[in-house]
């Protein structure tokens, strides 16, 4: 009887999570389209995906966005965190300023950057013309378009990395670093020998969270390039959206979503295995820092 008490949240979870997932899974093995009924076609959708140049490009793009974006965000965030942590005055103000980009809705970010980078009317183009440089097709060149997306994503989400790493730095004990200086270590060695390893738990948590979020990158691309030119900046989420809701090909779009889900689950599990390994080896202090960090509610809801 007592188990009945957990029924309401279970039902809720079932209704908003499990049912849609099963529904999508079911949809992905049919050729259903909007407004029409579909029939069971087995794994045809999946088979077709792997010869679909748009899908493969989107898949590769998604992976590259995650790898390049998260890497850039991590090192920039770490650099900022170290810098701000070593500041004597004005910590609070600078921390607030750094966090600002994260507070802006991605929709606005997309719009602002699209305007900034517009190759005819944008201020960046104006600046280039003013300096007698050739205008750069930020959004219309396939490679530059891709780079632009990574830049904007990094601009918006570096603050998140900064926040997690800065918090991690603040939880580290002070004395081992004083001891290291007394022992004659240079700042460079102190960083690599002590700061970096002791910050590892926080780093892994931050990278994990950002990676999962990055896989779902949608809004920035949607507003800045719309996936173009010619699908060069597409992501899986964007492609799924266009296929299902713009082209009305629900079955095929569902198959894309399932592939994305599987990719995220596999990669997140891999990262978690690495985390567990490292945790088992990590010292108590680091583990406590991570526990404390994971127990705290995230300061900003991740969009």
């Amino acid at each position: 009887m007592k188990h009945l008490l957990i029924a309401p949240p279970l039902l809720f979870f079932f209704a908003i999570s499990v049912i849609p997932l099963l529904f999508t899974l079911g949809l992905s093995v049919t050729n259903t389209s909007i407004g029409g009924s579909g029939s069971f076609i087995g794994l045809n959708n999946y088979a077709q995906l792997f010869s679909d140049q748009f899908f493969l490009r989107g898949f590769l793009n998604t992976i590259l966005y995650v790898v390049l974006g998260v890497t850039a965000q991590y090192w920039l965030g770490l650099g900022l965190a170290l810098l701000v942590n070593s500041m004597v005055h004005g910590k609070r103000l600078i921390r607030l300023l750094i966090l600002l980009p994260m507070m802006i809705p991605p929709l606005i970010v997309g719009f602002v950057w699209q305007t900034l980078l517009d190759s005819r009317y944008g201020p960046v183009a104006g600046l280039f013309t003013g300096l007698h440089l050739k205008p750069v097709p930020w959004l219309t060149d396939p490679t530059l378009g891709f780079v632009s997306i990574v830049i904007v994503d990094t601009w918006q989400w570096t603050p998140f990395m900064f926040l997690l790493l800065f918090t991690g730095l603040r939880t580290l004990p002070k004395e081992p670093f004083e001891a290291a200086r007394v022992d004659g270590a240079s700042s460079w060695r102190i960083f690599w020998d002590h700061t970096f390893p002791m910050l590892l738990p926080a780093s892994i948590a931050a990278i994990l969270l950002r990676s999962i979020e990055s896989f779902k990158l949608f809004d920035i691309v949607f507003f800045i390039t719309g996936g173009g030119p010619g699908g060069a900046t597409n992501t899986l989420t964007l492609l799924g959206y266009f296929t299902s809701l713009r082209s009305g090909n629900l079955g095929y779009g569902a198959a894309m979503s399932i592939i994305l889900l599987l990719t995220v689950v596999v990669l997140a599990t891999l990262i978690l295995i690495v985390v567990r390994r490292l945790m088992a080896r990590a010292d108590k202090a680091g583990q406590q820092a991570l526990d404390q960090f994971l127990a705290e509610p995230l300061p900003v809801k991740v969009a």
């Binding site: 004990p173 001891a179 200086r181 007394v182 022992d183 004659g184 270590a185 202090a285 680091g286």
Partner: protein, 356 residues
């Protein structure tokens, strides 16, 4: 292996004066103990020497060279922290190795290994070399921290209460070993402790720190026999020295309707101090003795400490256990040994000269 000179050191935290005008000078290879109560500025002094805390004003010299502007990593000091400050992600061996591997030391691998062996055996941590700090007890961690400070030759070794958290057996044996080891290495050592027994046992010279100032800097014998003022006198010695106020121009001490003739004292005398071991206690009425009531007794092995209420005073007496058995509330007679008293003026300063 340097001589050290601290000149008018001052350290302020906001408006708080942690160290004020502290002066100290020591020779190469000397073992200096900074003795003082918690908050006296012992740790701060060490941190100023290591440049972990920045000087507010004053000068520090190693071998007569001003080192105020030399950064911590180039001062060649070794330090054991009160909080241990071990590297938590490294094994004990790597913790001990780190100071040996710092740039510019160029210590050959075989010598590194020998040095690690040596301190590990000295501190009885040889069996713990492959463990991490989180797998050690507090006392073991403290020994690793001490080992990290001793493992390499340094201009100055700074030890901040390095054996405070060890069990009594190890604390006693390490005092001697540590002194011997540092002498052998010819290392100049600064060592802090609030425990005067530890200080007198290990020090070449004791600097008594009170309120961020050196009140007395002398050999353990001198600090004990000729304390510079009342505060020093009460820090050095356990139980603490009995301090009795004198009426101006008094020639005798009156307590509980009895009086004792005082030896001739200078007119500026304000207090006399008598160490607990210099008062004799009798169970029966005794001539030339004052009467008191036993307040509490503390037997300690072959000795005992007895606190006796005499008039408004609570006097500490330390005597052999064989002197007698005393129970709380018992009436006893006390006789100070006038030849051993300390005389202080009204402001608490020691008055020089012989009064006995």
């Amino acid at each position: 292996m340097s001589s050290v000179k601290l000149e008018a050191l001052t350290k302020k935290y906001g408006d708080n004066l942690a160290i004020s005008n502290l002066n100290l000078e020591c020779q190469q290879g000397e073992f200096i103990v900074l003795l003082g109560r918690p908050g006296a500025g012992k740790s701060t002094t060490l941190k100023l020497i290591a440049n972990i805390e920045e000087l507010s004003s004053g000068n520090i010299y190693f071998n007569d060279q001003l080192i105020n502007n030399i950064p911590t990593e180039n001062r060649n000091v070794a330090m054991a922290f009160e909080s241990y400050a071990l590297y938590p992600h490294w094994t004990v061996r790597k913790n001990l190795e780190f100071p040996l591997k710092a740039p510019g030391r160029n210590i050959p691998a075989a010598e590194q290994e020998a040095r690690i062996r040596r301190v590990a055996e000295l501190l009885e941590i040889a069996h713990l070399l492959d463990r991490k700090p989180s797998q050690l007890s507090g006392g073991q961690r403290q020994r690793v921290s001490l080992g990290r400070a001793l493992v390499r030759p340094a201009s100055v070794t700074l030890l901040d209460e390095p054996i405070a958290h060890l069990d009594a057996r190890l604390r006693h044996s390490l005092r001697g070993e540590l002194k011997q080891y540092q002498r052998e290495q010819n290392a100049t050592t600064f060592y802090t402790t609030p425990d005067y027994v530890e200080a007198t046992a290990i020090a070449d010279k004791i600097a008594v720190l009170i309120d961020g100032q050196v009140r007395q800097f002398a050999t353990p014998e001198v600090v004990y026999d000729e304390p510079a003022d009342i505060e020093v006198a009460t820090i050095v010695g356990d139980p603490k020295m009995n301090i009795l106020p004198l009426a101006p121009g008094a020639t005798r001490l009156e307590i509980n309707e009895a009086w004792l003739q005082l030896p001739p004292l200078p007119p500026e005398a304000g207090y006399i101090g008598i160490r607990p071991v210099n008062i004799q206690i009798f169970e029966n009425a005794h001539p030339y003795a004052i009467r008191g009531t036993v307040y509490v007794t503390e037997p300690m092995g072959y000795e005992q400490v007895i606190r006796v209420e005499a008039g408004e005073q609570l006097l500490n007496i330390k005597t052999l256990l064989t002197t007698g058995t005393f129970s709380i509330g018992q009436t006893v007679w006390l006789q100070p040994d006038w030849t051993t008293i300390h005389v202080f003026d009204r402001s608490g300063q020691r008055l020089k000269g012989g009064f006995h």
